[in-house]
């Protein structure tokens, strides 16, 4: 099927070349980082994780959200999603690849990455994250590819794939739960030490992922002859709506517990994020923008007239994306490290090279996504031509 990615319009090739240019630039920036060390980033002794880990956390959510298509289609036989489930699975593949790349570029000694497997350490959550992420990648590759191949041959998918597809459902939940556990089990970090971290991650994931899918659906509809269909958009929009409401609700649960108990080691982080601490307030505008976007998106999505309006829906999805991307990325990571365990404030902002590497990784993921979507949509076009 891969041959479908080898023929395409001028636009397709131009797009691929653009992506390759960004990847090249990102790779160049990475070579600088590889030679000089992580000193070229804005990270520090106090904020020891930054933009890379923030993107990783956000993208694990996007990857997990494929379950929002797989579950209704395979468990509830919701036929409308049958045509686009593959788009969700392929989005998951591209996202997991980006996650793995972000972890890799964040390592001080990337050449030693296999030490995680040579010295397996089950008491480390990072060990389990490696297992669930790689497992999820393989599950989605196999499930997506096999079902697409069957579709191409106009045959029902083979029976053995069903258990793998069912497995992908709890597995999707596991990747984001384990990712939350990376943070939520650390004794000295008040902002992360909360049992609601995993549900909050899942809620924002199920908002962000389907929002990205809707936007991709619009692109696909515009660029190819494939139309996901109005009903698919509407159902996805409902999922985004419920999930973004849950996300904001969980955020207020957090604010209540932290605010009402008023324990300094927990309140300090929220204070830093939303009002600034000891005169340091770099992230304040960002987190308020995130909150504003979240509320505006809720208004647009709860109201059926605006939600069903296919002209307004993409804007609501962009708002959801901005809200969750800021909250789960920079807010979650930098907010957890500021103030530091000695209650000193060191702020964090990514550097230019750090951003270039980040764009390079995103471009790699988008390249994978483009090729996978080209294949999937090629098969679907073939099928409709028959």
């Amino acid at each position: 099927m891969l041959e479908k990615a080898l023929s395409g319009s001028k636009l397709y090739w131009t797009w691929l070349i653009c992506l390759l240019v960004v990847i090249g630039a990102g790779f160049g920036a990475y070579l600088v980082q590889y030679n000089k060390g992580l000193m070229i980033t804005g990270m520090s002794r106090d904020v020891s994780w930054g933009f890379y880990i923030a993107q990783f956390t956000f993208l694990v959510g996007v990857a997990a959200s494929a379950v929002m298509l797989v579950l209704p289609y395979y468990l509830h036989h919701y036929k409308t999603f049958g045509r686009i489930t593959i788009l969700g699975e392929f989005l998951a593949i591209a996202s997991v690849i980006m996650c793995i790349l972000f972890i890799t570029v964040d390592l001080g000694k990337p050449t030693r990455i296999l030490n995680v497997m040579l010295h397996p350490t089950p008491n480390s959550i990072l060990f389990w994250d490696m297992i669930v992420l790689n497992g999820y990648l393989i599950i989605n590759l196999v499930a997506g590819w096999v079902t697409l191949e069957a579709e191409r041959k106009q045959l029902p998918p083979p029976g053995w794939i069903k258990p793998i597809i069912y497995l992908s459902i709890p597995w999707a939940v596991s990747i984001h739960t384990v990712t939350a556990f990376l943070y939520a089990g650390l004794p000295g970090r008040g902002y992360w030490l909360t049992a609601i971290m995993a549900p909050r991650f899942l809620a924002s994931a199920f908002a962000a992922g389907p929002a990205v899918l809707i936007l991709l659906g619009y692109l696909v509809k515009k660029l190819t002859r494939f139309d996901p269909g109005k009903e698919a958009f509407e159902t996805l929009a409902k999922i985004v709506c419920y999930a973004i409401i849950l996300h904001i609700f969980f955020f207020f649960l957090e604010v209540f517990t932290v605010g009402y108990s008023d324990i300094p080691s927990h309140t300090a982080h929220l204070k830093y994020l939303y009002f600034g601490l000891h005169g340091h307030n770099m992230l304040v505008p960002w987190v308020w923008v995130a909150l504003g976007c979240g509320f505006t998106a809720i208004i647009l999505l709860v109201n059926p007239r605006t939600r069903k309006n296919l002209k307004i829906l993409p804007y609501a999805c962009v708002l959801v994306f901005i809200c969750t991307w800021i909250d789960k990325g920079m807010g979650m990571i930098a907010g957890g490290f500021v103030p530091n365990p000695l209650h000193e404030v060191t702020e964090y902002a990514p550097t230019g090279l750090e951003l270039m590497i980040t764009f390079g990784v995103y471009a790699t993921g988008i390249l994978v996504l483009t090729i996978l979507y080209k294949v999937a949509l090629g098969v679907k076009a073939e099928e409709e031509a028959l």
Binding site: R45, W49, I113, P341
Partner: protein, 275 residues
């Protein structure tokens, strides 16, 4: 069939009666077989060879031995000068680089009372304590979160309690830095060697991309010397065996009131501050 069930039980009974259980019986039946079996790695060991500890290396007879190492810092004796001398000694003996800015490396440093003990908030505390400069360093916790989170066992705990780093195994993921509730760990954001003021040739310098921290001077203990900071502190820092009720350290802890950093986190820090 050489040995049937009946015969085996009989043999086992006789062996047990003569106290020839386990390896001795095995040795009698097949002399030399056990030595070979012990040296032969299992398939698991072949895939995951043990990298720490090598029993064939003879320990230095002068090496200091303790069941559980700890440190007492006497705040009545610790002047800023003595603390600076301790810090300087540590930095020198471990080739700790002096890197300006927020990507610096610190093994042992001075900090304020509210920074070291943010949970012990008291605006009217004795000014001598409140305004004192405290030494912060790795607490060599009994229940260290950094060891718990490390994905490669690059940071590990020795039997005598010292929390150590294997610089050759560390992948630089910095999970331990997120895990440490005391900010005791530093990452080599760059090659540290150009920032070492005067290199001490007997201790290895580090490379970019790995995490490092205080080791309670394990390399000095191994040759019978006290940690560099304790030696240079003019008696303000007392190193010793926490498990030995007769040690000077325990004597001090009995005689004066001591506090530890963030004991509420259950990490059981082994650095005690006499206040």
């Amino acid at each position: 069939m050489g040995v049937d069930r009946r015969q085996f039980l009989k043999l086992a009974g006789i062996s047990a009666a003569f106290g020839l259980g386990g390896s001795v019986g095995f040795q009698l039946l097949r002399p030399g077989a056990l030595d070979a079996a012990e040296r032969m790695p299992t398939p698991y060991q072949m895939v995951f060879p043990k990298s720490q500890g090598n029993s064939e290396v003879m320990p230095n007879p002068k090496a200091l031995k303790g069941r559980r190492w700890g440190m007492v810092i006497d705040m009545r004796k610790l002047t800023v000068e003595k603390a600076r001398a301790a810090i300087q000694a540590c930095n020198y003996y471990h080739n700790v680089p002096t890197i300006p800015g927020k990507q610096n490396i610190k093994w042992i440093w001075l900090t304020g009372y509210t920074n070291a003990f943010p949970e012990v908030e008291n605006p009217f505390a004795d000014p001598a304590i409140k305004n004192a400069r405290f030494i912060a360093m790795c607490n060599h916790c009994d229940n260290p979160p950094c060891v718990r989170v490390c994905p490669t066992k690059a940071t590990f705990q020795r039997e005598d309690g010292i929390v150590m780093m294997d610089m050759h195994r560390c992948i630089g993921c910095r999970f331990c830095m997120a895990g440490c509730p005391y900010g005791s760990r530093s990452f080599n954001f760059r090659d540290p060697r150009p920032f070492i003021k005067k290199e001490y040739p007997k201790y290895p310098t580090r490379t970019k991309g790995v995490v490092e921290k205080c080791t309670f001077c394990s390399e000095r203990l191994a040759v019978g010397k006290l940690p560099a900071c304790a030696e240079a502190s003019g008696g303000a820092m007392v190193f010793g065996d926490v498990d030995d009720a007769g040690s000077e350290l325990r004597q001090l802890l009995r005689s004066r009131y001591s506090i530890r950093r963030k004991p509420n986190l259950g990490t059981h820090p082994q650095v005690y501050y006499l206040v």
